[in-house]
Symmetry: D3
């Protein structure tokens, strides 16, 4: 079976990651996954939230938003409504949690990395594109810090990327765009590390259910896709990629 | 290896479901899972949210909250802060989505089932206990409606229950209490139906990761636990359990 | 004239106070007054609000809420609306003020007692049941503190309980349930101490008025009811009741 | 014993009511009770809140606020904090409820009377001054309506005024100013009608209690003060006072 | 062409400034510009907002509000809506910015002057009346401070007043009232100092535009009006006016 | 005197307008003014706000926001604070008002044009860049509508662009970047139409003042700059530019 955009089931959309996309942030990229475009920035603040103060550990906080016309119908801004909607909350909690899994917070020290993912154009998979792009922005920001004042252990311990998989018309497919997402019976977001371990697996039947066999198929698809995403991150990061997981000798 | 409360890895905590716990709601239970206690109610409203009006379909909305002293430290009320926190949002979206997977919304007609899960005492697993208890309250409320004015097809299509599993001290265990939850490297919530299919699988490494093999072990544990929970729901529901999935002849 | 539930005008509904209802709080009870059920907890925090800091005095703050289905029609949660409604505000201010009348705040020291009253089921009289129950929870919490590190003067100086009275069909009656409350022309809440003094008298004609003679009748009824409530508090508290108003010798 | 401002215990402060204080509202007064100054306006809206629609009845809603520098220390505006504080809520609920006791809502028809009480300068007794002034503004607004399109029964059935009484230095005194209010052990607000019946009695021991005898003394004082206030309302209202309680012949 | 209220194009409405209008604030006036009435108060707080702390500089913050019935139709309170509307924000930012232009914030020292402008009655020009009145209240408050503990340099460096001008029926007119404001094609608010320099020029075509020549005419009109306003401020301030711009010898 | 970036006083920064920047909106551009980058979109909704319903007129509403890292220091999102800050409010009101000056709202019919300006990167002049860019997006959106169902009179009546001017180190300069803006004593935003008339003139002395002569210099500079901006809009719009101000023959 062919997909509506001619891809095969195991095929990602075209990925482009533009580095240093903005002049102000310590790290910033524009990630494009097909028509989905997200600006991801990483900012470093030299303090931690109250609950961590004095423990010698750092923190990572993520925020996510969509421009009103990132979508086909104009979406009302959260600021105009005076509160953050549930979907946004869920996504920003996911992004922060995912990135923390590959950061050694003790090595980072008492700093907060603020991740901002702003969706400029949405065509499915915005949360997984956000994770994949934010990882690159975060590495750049931490590498910049490292260049000034080297860490003994570089705080980022492994690569991290994410994709979505789902069951559309009874078939498991990789990297759903918006049209497929609307049609999907099962939708799963998977976050994995460079060494092939899971960080998050969130599978949801939307008014539907799925079997163990289907779950296995979906995980296999995701694994293949995430390996390709990490290869792209590796290329974009160039020399900075060498720092990931590196434990230097102490002075 | 024994767990801190003497359970074996595959053992649920003691479950008690008290039916008709409150006088006003159409359906209500007190579910106790070990020391965790949740009041679950189901209320039926004869209209649907704006986005569904005129489509002949029903809806299920869930709200979740904890009493301030459900927890060891007093938690500030969301109402006092003027906004619902992210964790609460995530949980109430999960409960609603899970229940919708076993309800035929067309058969329900233009009605909303409001599910309220209020945690009276928390000792881990409050979101999964909420789903398991809310399912029973929902069946009761819909059965009451059915008794007055029978549906052609009873709108609830299958049983539904949930549990948590996790990796604690390198071991996969079923139904984590609070002490285990704090220690867990991986935490997974699983929602399944009576016919053994998944509705939600949410596995999260909290500053940790997990392998495919570990994921498989966790899913197997969850499957066993949920079967036991559904047996208990079956017993509690008694005759009402017969209605689930039933398609009557049209008049 | 008989009341709709067969009580005579001077008769309270059945009162049950279940001690140590929850595992986490320092003090907790479930109070049932007829069908009205309220969980009252007392939590002790070792600091005071900003306006009292450094004055060597303590404080008591109360919060009150109802579960959405404590009522016949589902009530929208304050948290969902993002603000606390006027009735809730009024009640929680009343509970706090009433309890402070029997606490020696200097003897308490720089501590806050947080009182939480959560109505599980409402059938009239929820605010007075909250005060009566919260008093017991507060004594338990303070007695626990006293057991660890005795106060010279036990900070609770007298018993405290509350009831409602009203004029229903031209007759003054004690302890109105919901049906009577809806019908009442005059509704009065009275809070009294163990030595028979008033702490609060709040009489309201709802689209009606009342004479001095009617006011006197209502106060007499309330006095009789509150004495009975205090007897029950005394029994429940057992040995802890001996601490109330006790001034020990200084070391 | 003399009071700090030379008044005797049974003496009101000087009362001035300026009619038609503002050009826009249907009714408006500036009421001065000693140094306390409140602008009270009554606005008539030709519709009722949702819960009353279609029942042929009217409604009265009151709002109360203080200018930031009505007080000795600048008070933060509720609008700046984004929520109405508890004291404000309590007062505006009291004002609305009190006025409703002397309005025949059926006779008023499907209209809302909006009462706004804005305290320009505060020196104790702002809520009772608000009620006394708002009553006059309301009569003016309803009389203006009546002049255009006469009611069969004038909807305002009786006079209404309010004052505060309290126990200061063991003595019951009438109409407390701010200095006395701060010192008072017991503070009571009383609202009465022209025929000497109570609408509201709210007595509060602030970290203190009071006996039945003290309560009686306070009520007697309040009664005397309110009679004087109603005489003043009568004079100010002039011919409009004749309309109060009047039942005209039907056409 | 005559204006609807018989004024000529270059004529201000009648201005009255009542000093020491309220008992509590350090400075307070009631300013009346025709039917527009605004209570302006100045409060001095011995600390500065966070962003200025430790810099030895002061700050001026302004808040603006209208009573609900300052207007012909009742306006909903910002507090009731839980947020400050855009127009209010814009005006309070303007008032604060304007006043800061004639205050030497270093000479003021680490203090905040809170300006509160509350419109009691609105008939056009409320924001410019607020600035003109607030200037007087501010001088009084700072002069009171100076009387206790003299400044080396009096922190207020020049007079400041404001008026509106506009194009109504093709004619440039000074000091528009509400009727003219509604009809105006162009509306301009101008703030000037005692030495004839501009602080703010805000000209707006509301669904209309204006030429350079028209702009020049409007500025000339405003200049004339503001000179008259400053003369009135001078008279009202009496001896305090001598302090403005004064640099005393150091002790 | 040369400016820090080598421009002469009368020189704009480099302007680039990228058309059809996003796939979903009816009109969208990326406008770059030096390093300032704003995404401007125009969305057409087939209904008007409540206050205009049934009048046969359209409306234009603008919203403005900055990404958190559009700025050198991360800015907290309005959504996270739960309210829109004053500066944002002021800017979005300005954008809407400015655009309405060149739209014939009757010709537009009962439609709302939603303008969204999201600043991706800020280096001074974001509000004027927003207006200049939003005009182009709006023309595109209305032209698209016109292509489907031609208007008798094209609702956009003239070109519209904006720039800032200011006094920096005693010199009047055009199109300030962030470094100049921080240093400026006077800051003025000017909005003009294609026929050289003013729509908005907002000049502000920030803790400073300006003379009539300085004002004249600033306006002359702005006029020159805006003409250049309108030439660029003309080129970008190509054939669509012909529609502006066009009155077609009626059918």
């Amino acid at each position: 079976m062919t997909r509506h955009d001619e891809r095969v089931a195991t095929q990602l959309r075209k990925i482009t990651i533009t580095e240093n996309y903005l002049m102000h942030p310590e790290g910033s990229v524009l990630i494009q996954v097909g028509h989905t475009k997200v600006i991801c920035t990483a900012s470093i603040e030299e303090r931690v939230p109250g609950f961590l103060r004095g423990q010698g550990k750092g923190w990572i906080t993520a925020e996510y938003a969509m421009l009103p016309r990132a979508t086909a119908q104009r979406t009302v801004r959260d600021a105009a409504k005076g509160k953050i909607n549930g979907r946004t909350m869920e996504i920003q909690r996911l992004i922060g949690r995912a990135l923390r899994a590959v950061v050694d917070l003790e090595a980072l020290g008492e700093r907060t990395i603020w991740i901002d993912c702003d969706v400029i154009q949405a065509d499915g998979g915005t949360r997984t594109a956000s994770i994949t792009g934010a990882f690159v922005a975060m590495v750049q920001a931490v590498a910049k810090l490292h260049a000034d004042k080297p860490f003994n252990h570089f705080p980022i311990t492994d690569f991290l990327a994410a994709t979505s998989v789902g069951i559309v018309n009874q078939e498991a497919v990789l990297d759903l765009d918006y049209v497929e997402d609307v049609d999907a019976d099962v939708d799963m977001n998977v976050v994995m590390t460079g060494d092939g371990r899971f960080v998050e697996v969130q599978g949801t039947g939307e008014e539907a259910t799925f079997s163990r066999a289907e779950l296995n198929d979906l995980l296999a698809l995701a694994e293949g896709g995430i390996q390709q995403l990490i290869e792209q991150q590796n290329i974009i990061l160039g020399e900075q990629a060498q720092l990931i997981g590196k434990k230097e000798e102490e002075a």
